[in-house]
Amino acid sequence: MHRYIPHTDEEIKEMLNEIGVKSIEDLYIDVPKTVDDYNLESEKDEFTVKSEILSLAKKNKVFKIENIFAGAGIYAHYIPTVVEHLANDQRFVTAYTPYQAEVSQGTLQALFEYQTMMCELTGMQVANSSMYDGATALAEAMLMAVRVSRKNKILAASSINPEYLQTSKTYCTPQNIEIEEVKWNDNGTLDIEDLKSKISDETSAVVVGYPNFFGIIEDLKLIKESIPEKTLLIVVSEPVSLTILESPGKLGADIVVGEGQSLGVTPNFGGPGIGFFTTLEKYVRKMPGRIIGQTKDVDGKTGYVMVLQTREQHIRREKATSNICSNHALIALINAIYLSTMGPEGLRKVAKMSYNAAHYFAEKLKEKGYSLIFNGPFFNEFAFDAGENYYEKWKKLAEEGFLGPLPLVKVLPNFKNCALACCTEVNTNESIDNLLKHF
């Protein structure tokens, strides 16, 4: 007997009898027996399992939150207790995709509200109810831009997250979509001349970060003005920053995507986070992913359903706008609960405190003689020259209890000795000063 499997011996007999076979073996008449015994351990009780796995877990170092100075796509933020508490409600966790809308209104309304919140943050008109992560959201945005524009060339700023760029290339190449990179200038912002020189009638979309991977705030207005009207502007953004930065929607973006982990989601060693995906109403039928819409029931009561399913793989099959099926709905719920808890004021405070902390850190570093790599305005991340052997120093810092600024060489081999520093509201004056003692 196993605690997850309810069959008693007697019931098994009764069931075999009803089926009309003699043994379990008889049920496998069509199936060759190629496994006798997996080369795996034997079953275990939960106390042993827990103690074994948690002793493995303890080999991972959990940094004090105020001592985390690395971001680069995954951010340490305070997560209110209610967020975790409510998102662990198993009536959300163990529910399936809301195909049966009548018994899935919890899911559907929560996701509808999530979509609204993401539209509010980005200034866009429609949002889907999630993608896997920022990287795949961007890749899908490029595919969508190609569907919309029927042109096969994308110009992407070299300054967007390198993993996002790489993922996009993986997605685009088989479909014969070419991604050409556009340089950054000394400010760390997009080189407008380079952009202009590369743009052509074949350009489907231009992709920029806002802020970009180096934390630099791109001038979306200038970029929008520099590209033809029919070229789509795809913006990769960090949602917390959007309470301070003018919304991409207002500045002319056609698609705004990004990683939503910073909205109440634990770092999870990089996953799951969530890709958010927002665009303009006119493109809604070209969007990938699930979209929730409001409607009425037969009694006239307001309710929610999945809409525009004919875009999706389970109906449109190979002609679908994407192959995505499972998405990251539970993380969308976390985002929604977090945003409900923080509200506009709370989230803005998070953003401003992050901005302040990063600028304080940068100021102090400069006082110590370190120089920033770029001169452009930054939000809560900045790159600086951290000196010889920074990679080794970074490992030493970990022993001292700091997750120090990321050695950029880990993701951009040319950036030797450079570090990408990140501050959020969790970093205090004291923790920054403590870190600075090691610089």
Partner: protein
């Protein structure tokens, strides 16, 4: 239910953030990049947040509430110990960019999980990076593409899928640049070897199958099929949606599959989370190992490392290393079940399906004869003809009785059908109850078809106007005054 936006009141708060004791810095970016209007996020109290989401949760059906016989979805029990362990801060609070020396536990877990999944699937290597089944399929298709290109075999443009396949199969193949060829199933619901032969040529890159297939039938000719595919130089791809059925009995690798994706949120008990996150590891035979996406987790001198230097890899398919916390749940599940438990999972899943099939066969027609594996497809076409009551109506009426509807209208090759998968975690009592209620609904349909056609009645909301919702989509809250 009232939206959270309607509950909002200017100035109300649910947060308090610690002071960081840092002075205020003025913004040094251009004025036109400064946000002028606040996003209209909710302004509510902590109790408002708690009540809103608690009351939303109450409007959901879920595995913890009742039976979820969704074919192809493997809605088994999601053990609570898995959740507890995955939420441990030593897993949830680690940063993907912390020095790998400080994340050895996480890497070891992934390394060991990879080995376990190789053993269970019969494959030689495995990537844990894909975020979902469809993401795994895309990864698999990209591997197939890379394989053929690496051999200079540029003519292989086609991917074959049976007409009973999941929609993700053709969609993923298409995303990887393949032309999709759909082949008709035979009268026994399985791959028609002649049909296959007709389409198998030198342009075919890959054949995608799931075995047992979406009708719950085992492809008996799988060894023959593998031979045919390989003979033509193509690859054989396994969609892991139905792996639960064969646990402890056979393995995709043993059947001749070259590439496999697994759905951890199906076979391996991780929760569906209203749609995700899931995880779709992809396993390959040795000759395809070099094409797996980056990063790869390797072990050197008892240290675990990430390897990004794989020149023939298909590259990055997402950021970081996959849905790590889903992997933790899976690792916990496999440790819990052990080899004996996993075997029993497969056996009891098949027993439950065959038992329920027998019970249901007394009420509605079963689409294909013979024993089934972990699921079966039944049809109410006859009833529809007699009474006008459709599979959809019966599904909705089931909701009134507190049971989730089975998968409907899939696979597409059967009409007015239910695809029913009970999983091994449901008891005989639950299956008996389901059959009893289904029988009752069929009686209702015959006596009073309108009753069933207008169901459900007792759910938080009744049948919704989906047509208008898609014709004139309202996809966000309409703030007053807009």
């Amino acid at each position: 239910m009232t939206t959270i936006f309607e509950m909002s009141k200017k100035g109300r708060i649910a947060f308090k953030i610690p002071n960081n004791n840092i002075k205020d810095y003025e913004f040094d970016f251009p004025e036109h990049l400064l946000r002028k209007t606040s996003p209209r996020l909710p302004q509510v109290s902590e109790l408002d947040v708690v009540r809103h989401y608690t009351n939303l949760a109450a409007k959901n059906y879920s595995v913890d509430v009742g039976f979820y016989p969704l074919g192809s979805c493997t809605m088994k029990y999601n053990p609570k110990i898995n959740e507890k362990i995955a939420n441990d801060e030593h897993f949830s609070m680690i940063h993907p960019f912390q020095p790998m020396e400080t994340a050895q536990g996480a890497l070891q877990l992934m390394y060991e999980l990879k080995e376990m999944l190789c053993e269970i699937s019969g494959m030689d290597d495995m990537t844990l990076v894909p975020s979902a089944g469809a993401h795994g399929e895309l990864t698999g298709m990209l591997i197939a593409r890379a394989y053929h290109l690496s051999r200079g075999d540029t003519k292989r443009k086609k991917a074959i899928v049976p007409d009973s396949a999941h929609g993700t199969n053709p969609a993923s193949a298409r995303m990887a640049g393949f032309e999709v060829i759909e082949i008709k199933s035979g009268p026994d619901g399985r791959v028609d070897l002649n049909e296959l032969k007709k389409h198998l040529d030198e342009e075919v890159a890959v054949l995608l199958l799931t075995n047992p297939n979406t009708l719950g039938l085992f492809e008996k000719d799988i060894i023959k099929i593998a031979e045919m595919v390989h003979e033509k130089g193509a690859l054989l791809y396994y969609d892991g949606a139905n792996l639960n059925a064969i646990l402890g009995r056979t393995r995709p690798g043993d059947m001749g599959f070259d590439i496999v994706h697994l759905n951890l949120h199906k076979t391996f008990s991780t929760p569906h989370g209203m749609g995700g996150p899931g995880s779709g590891p992809v396993g390959v035979k040795k000759h395809l190992s070099k094409f797996l996406p980056v990063p790869e987790i390797i072990k050197e001198n008892n240290t675990y490392k990430l390897n990004y230097s794989k020149p023939e890899s298909i590259g990055f398919i997402r950021s970081f290393f996959g849905n790590f916390s889903v992997l933790v749940r899976t690792y916990t599940y496999i440790k819990t079940m052990g080899k004996e438990g996993l075997k029993k999972v497969g056996q009891m899943a098949v027993l439950n399906a065959n038992y329920l099939r027998k019970k249901v066969s007394k009420i509605m027609d079963i689409a294909y004869p013979g024993l089934c594996m972990h699921e079966f497809v039944s049809t109410c076409e006859k009833l529809t003809k007699e009474t006008g009551v459709k599979a959809l109506d019966i599904a909705k009426r089931l909701l009134d009785y507190g049971i989730h509807a089975p998968t409907m209208y899939f696979p597409l090759i059967v009409h007015e059908d239910f695809m029913i998968e009970p999983t091994e975690t449901e008891s005989k009592d639950t299956l008996d109850e389901f059959a009893k209620i289904l029988g009752k609904i069929f009686e209702e349909a015959k006596q009073n078809p309108e009753l069933v056609k207008n169901a459900p009645y007792t759910t938080p909301i009744r049948r919704l106007d989906e047509a208008t919702a898609s014709r004139k989509p309202i996809v966000k809250f309409n703030f007053e005054g807009e």
